[in-house]
């Protein structure tokens, strides 16, 4: 069986690049290669991951400088041609700065850096990033960010709702989307959104940090598994990934 080729962009200050490569390459047994941000071409890849971290020190604004790294021209071209792009945390911020996703990630309403497990509910499982999930599934995945407070103009948010572009929402363990389950003040508890074309996903939680069974949390595998299924077919599923935990 073929393998999905993941390309993980490395900016100066990225710190989840190797985790993403480890999960895609070692845990999920696909091809995974790091791509330095000064490269002008992504090369032969199926999926691009913009990883978490603090690209260029998050100077000016999160993602504002990374967005002009040389590789980003090819990332934008790749995305506009329908290529799959996954932005995790800082990667999500880069995608909004690059205009590949709408809105912006503001400072957490608490002004605190939040580093803990949260629950997110799958709002839309008709995407290549969530195809292995059921709608309403609750995934327990960690967040680690200071600027994760999703904001967009009211009409933009409405468009996200109308087009079913909200993929993940912060929720309680039971799956209730409530204020108390919102860690950072995000509009409508938004934890992850997809572009209109359905090939660019950004999310604040870190699926790559909850994918290796050694860490006891494996819900993050759902996202990697979804991508793999979308490229290779459902038969590529090695085992049921969403174990009944509750």
């Amino acid at each position: 069986m073929g393998k999905v080729k993941f390309g993980i962009v490395v900016f100066p200050g990225s710190n989840c690049d190797h985790d993403s490569q480890y999960v895609a390459g070692h845990v999920m047994e696909q091809e995974a290669r790091l791509i330095w941000h000064k490269e002008s071409s992504l090369g032969d890849v199926d999926v691009v991951i913009l990883p978490g971290g603090f690209a260029h020190g998050d100077y000016l604004r999160c993602g504002a400088i990374a967005r002009f790294s040389p590789i980003m021209k090819d990332v934008v071209r790749f995305a506009n041609n329908g290529g799959a792009v996954l932005g995790i945390c800082n990667g999500f911020q880069v995608l909004t700065e690059a205009g590949l996703l709408p809105g912006v990630l503001l400072r957490n309403s608490s002004l605190r850096f939040i580093c803990r497990y949260v629950n997110v509910r799958v709002e839309n499982n008709a995407t290549m990033f969530t195809a292995a999930c059921r709608k309403g599934d609750v995934l327990e995945i960690p967040v680690a960010h200071g600027d994760g407070n999703f904001f967009a103009e009211e009409e933009t948010v409405q468009k996200l709702v109308d087009n079913n572009q909200i993929v993940f929402k912060y929720c309680t363990k039971e799956g209730d989307v409530s204020d108390e389950a919102n860690p950072n003040g995000s509009r409508l508890n938004i934890a992850g959104i997809i572009n209109e074309a359905g090939n660019v996903l950004g999310l604040m939680p870190h699926p790559e940090r909850a994918a290796d069974p050694v860490l006891r949390h494996t819900d993050g595998q759902a996202i990697f598994q979804s991508i793999i299924q979308s490229f290779l077919g459902v038969d590529a599923t090695r085992e049921p990934i969403l174990l009944e935990r509750r």
């Binding site: 000016l60 912006v104 309403s109 904001f151």
Partner: protein
């Protein structure tokens, strides 16, 4: 040569929790009449252009493309002649 002095602020419609925290701190100092604290950025840069108009246009471009994100920020600037 012109020196541009740029101010970037969060748009009025956006809650500024940092400003709020500082405001509370000012209040606890006893300055109860201080309100609406907003925190922004100040950026200075030199542009080597012949005319002031050109310097303003260039500064405006840089602000629009990089220094401010229009989704959440407004910017303003003044351009001064420099030796």
């Amino acid at each position: 040569m012109y020196r541009a002095k740029i101010t970037v602020t969060l748009r009025k419609s956006i809650l500024d929790p940092q400003g709020k925290a500082v405001e509370q701190s000012i209040h606890s100092l006893g300055y109860g009449t201080v309100e609406n604290v907003r925190i922004g950025k100040f950026i200075e840069l030199t542009v080597d252009t012949k005319s002031r108009e050109e310097a303003e246009r260039l500064t405006n471009d840089v602000c629009r493309k990089l220094l401010a994100n229009p989704v959440m920020e407004d910017f303003s600037f003044v351009v001064e002649e420099e030796d």
